[in-house]
Symmetry: C2
Subunit: 142 residues, 2 copies
DNA sequence: ACGAAATGGTCAAGGAGCCTGACCATATCT
DNA sequence: AGATATGGTCAGGCTCCTTGACCATTTCGT
């Protein structure tokens, strides 16, 4: 089915562009999976277990991912205010700057689409995709 | 940007559904990357180098992937009719059956979308994505 | 209130998949 | 014909994810 193939191709291209844009803005050593984690943390932080569920991986894998972004200065572990077992993972200032860079890169890519489809068609695309988007975990790997 | 997030979420969900549908139809031990390889081979076969370019990986990785689908009975290596260095990788009957299963699974997913958006909106989505789809390699990993 | 079970998190070991580097066989260029 | 380029494989290593075990704290059941 051509629609499926086109969708997967566009998604792959988009994630590549976002990644390239983030690197071009000076944030290295990150993978797209980190971006999904950043998005989940940016509101009020997140626990390792929440990140694991959001990314669709095990707690151990999420914990390793957190180790990595902490070591690189994008986030830090704080004691959880309501549960002494848990830790709240929070973005540092550098982490927030990186998240902004990713948003800018994504916006650039969408602007490029507007040049092909026109503004109205892009809005239409956004509405359609919003209706189809699932609420479950994001699966970055296929 | 909400559009980017929705697009990536829908793409992840689609690849998960296709994979589940293929498994449900009795084809195990395959990953989505294999699907892209199958699609490339289904016309008239493909060489390892062509598959590598199509998938955006090294020749060695593509060669390993071919080893795997040959070992599992989905494809076979034949001498290339025009170049004694090359080998033409061709789907077996079982491989073609698997490709059909993937197409059916994809069609099922698209039908589910029609239930949400309506037929006309799905056609519109297909046209828009076809215009945005790149022609370069498909990058299954992000 | 107190022990049992569940939950949040980490450590350790192993596996799957991709990469780099080296190498051989055949094609193509000069 | 010899030099170079191309198709393909072999070997080793790295990264990321998984399973299994374990500790600390919270919640449940009685």
């Amino acid at each position: 089915m051509a629609l499926s193939a086109a969708l997967l191709a566009v998604a792959g291209e988009l994630s590549r562009r976002i990644h390239d844009g983030v690197v071009a803005r000076g944030f290295e050593g990150l993978r797209p999976a980190h971006g999904f984690a950043f998005a989940r943390m940016s509101a009020a932080g997140a626990t390792v277990t929440e990140l694991a569920a959001h990314l669709g991986v095990t707690k151990q894998a999420a914990s390793q991912l957190v180790d990595e972004i902490v070591r690189k200065g994008y986030a830090e572990r704080r004691p959880h205010p309501e549960d002494a077992r848990a830790r709240l993972i929070v973005l540092t200032e550098r982490g927030r700057a990186c998240a902004r860079a990713a948003e800018e890169s994504a916006a650039d890519a969408v602007r490029a689409w507007a040049g092909v489809l026109g503004e109205e068609q892009v809005r239409s695309l956004g509405r359609q995709l919003a209706l189809l988007a699932p609420h479950g975990p994001i699966r970055p790997t296929w």
